[in-house]
Amino acid sequence: MARGAVAVTGAGVAALVAALVLLPLGAVALRAGAWPSLVPGDAQTLWFTLWQAVVSALLSCLLAVPVARALARRRFAGRGALITLMGAPFLLPVIVAVMGLIAVFGRSGLVNGLLAGLGVAPVSIYGAQGVVLAHVFLNLPLAVRMVLQGWQSIPAERFRLAESLGFAPAQVALHLERPMLRAVLPGAFAVILVVCLTCFAVALTLGGGPKATTVELAIYQAVRFDFDLGRAAMLSGLQFALCATIAVLAWRAVTPTSFGAGLGRAPVVQARGAGPLLADVLAIGLAAGFLLLPLGAIVLRGLPGLAEVPVAVWAAAGRSVTVALISTAATVAAALVLALRVAQGGPGALVLDGIALLPLATSGLVLGTGLFLLVQPWAAPSDLALPVTVAANVALSLPFVYRLLLPEARVLFADYGRLSDSLGLHGAAWLRLVAVPRLARPLGFGAGLVAALSMGDLGVIALFASDQTATLPLVVQRLMAAYRIDTAAAAALVLVAISFALFWAFDAWGRWHAAT
């Protein structure tokens, strides 16, 4: 009976997810049917989208290696806190990250101040280099986490054995570290590549122009500025083809990573000598500076204005929290049902697995354009801005939460499937007494991720929103565009505080309820 109920619910949820992804695609395909010819700039846009994603992913992975190695083999006071804090940019709303980066690397920022002191010409944060810089800033923490986990997954006994055999550092690298990196880096590269391909907010704020426009940004411009829905549909088709290809090629290489747990453990790897020490101090110092200075800059810039934040900001904050909470509830419920159904196996599990990962082949603006085309004949898009944003958040975060839950759901059935069945424990009682307590940790972590990412999301909403339906990230972006930088910084600080608080609350719930 439990199996029957899960199977039926699983099929229903899968049908909804498939509809949510495929209906907008259908609308896009129909509209693009006339196939407006490519504008000469489109090839350049496509090339830039690919180029910036590959370069960002490569740089993030390359830079992550020395940082993770340093964190893996050094102990110092505050190491655990630093690792936690350095993870923050991953949860940071993109628009806030961009503000922080501008504060440090912008025209009147810290770096250009130093360069001017040395008599060097200022560097610009706008354009291709700015897009890559922002992507590395946002994704380096993820890469460091994954590589650090790889280092810590090498058993301590191996390093002891290497030491007892008198291995030089080069031999340790050859026999222990390089095989681990070969296993871990492709996954990190693939995740970051997929994330950067659908870059919108970074390109909107730091990119633009013929040389630094991504496909997502081009879709937005076609809808918002030219109101050329045929062109938007054509670009959406292009973006879908790109994402689907990369997702199919890359996603299977991806192993899900978990955050938090176990990473605070004392390091086992030791390195002696002044050279490695200098390298490690530099790696940790530079990475910490790069990741933490922009965060600090936002706090400093935003604090003074906090008392005079306009009412519109608080209203937008209320809308954003509502959107985030509804998105979280729907995503976690859908991911849980799909993960339980797929973990049970049997006929159809493979199909459902595919549907759960289907949203990876699409993007925020592709979904947004499709939904725009779907609702436009019936209602003013701006009236439906918030429901559409929720739908896009759910679709786009589902694969990640699903991947977090699936292995744990498999363990749940392997360990307690028979016991539950033999006691006749199924349905709602099984969910309440067994599934949720046993899966509390990934559920809480996943819910925290969705809440923080939905809170900070600046994608679909930009296509739909009017002033009455703007979310907080959009308000921050509009304040920035209007050069009301102090107010924007204060609003950004509110946004960061709520995002982190939501993540912390859900994650803490999961850890609190985590079954022993």
Binding site: M1, Y416, D421, S422, L423, G424, R432, L433, T516
Partner: protein, 231 residues
């Protein structure tokens, strides 16, 4: 009466047949070499393993369409008999109501069952805070509460020392006497069979043979058992 009617079990080159019956309230040991299919036989009776052909009948009723939880059976597995995130009392309560909405009367029954197996005062502990023997006692207490007419034990005490194992088997015997249950015990150890079971089933060479009186069985072991017991 539990009847195995021309039962055939098969999986990846493994094959086991059984065609016999045991009366209610009997105590049966199931003995045989590793990998012969002792656990698979129990799984098939409990409803976790679908037979290729043949039937499992209880008092004349075919159990094929009955889900594991609805069968007249309580099972003690090799491990994972308790949910580690629920208290001992909650784990026992699952035996009375799987949704744990217990009446006051049922809560009292749980307390009494704990006293009965010597776990009074442990109600609020988690399984992780119990010893191996105490975990076995808690699982038995739940079987006592469920009071199903068949109790299947798949070496649940294999990890315990000899003295503790004998103690647990004595407790199983008491529980079985109180509930009048038919007990089937999988074991590697002839001593368990001789001390506990009136009947013994030998599982070897693809056949689960019909139960025979334990004393006679070990007094004059069949060739397949002699090979297993060694010189």
């Amino acid at each position: 009466m539990l009847q195995l009617d021309r039962l055939v079990l098969a999986q990846d080159g493994f094959r086991l047949t059984a065609d016999w019956s045991v009366p209610c309230g009997e105590r049966v040991a199931i003995i045989g070499p590793s990998g012969a299919g002792k656990s698979t036989l129990l799984s098939a009776i409990a409803g976790f393993f679908e037979p290729v052909s043949g039937r499992v009948l209880w008092k004349g009723q075919d159990l094929a369409k009955v889900s594991p939880g609805a069968r007249p059976i309580s099972s003690l597995f090799q491990d994972q008999n308790l949910f580690p995130h629920l208290s001992v009392a909650q784990n026992l309560g699952l035996g009375l109501r799987p949704d744990l909405r217990l009446s006051r009367d049922q809560a009292r029954q749980v307390e009494q069952a704990l006293v009965r197996v010597g776990l009074s005062g442990m109600a609020e502990r988690r399984p992780g805070q119990l010893s191996g023997g105490q975990i076995g006692r808690a699982a038995l207490a739940r079987a006592l509460l469920r009071a199903r007419p068949i109790l299947l034990l798949d070496e649940p005490f294999a990890a315990l020392g000899p003295a503790l194992k004998a103690e647990m088997l004595a407790l199983v015997a008491e529980v079985a006497d109180e509930t009048g249950a038919l007990v089937m015990l999988v074991t590697h150890d002839p001593k368990d069979a001789m001390g506990f079971a009136r009947q013994t089933v030998l599982v070897a060479e693809g056949v689960a043979q019909a139960p025979v009186p334990t004393a006679a069985f070990f007094a004059n072991p069949p060739p397949a058992l002699r090979a297993y017991l060694g010189p």
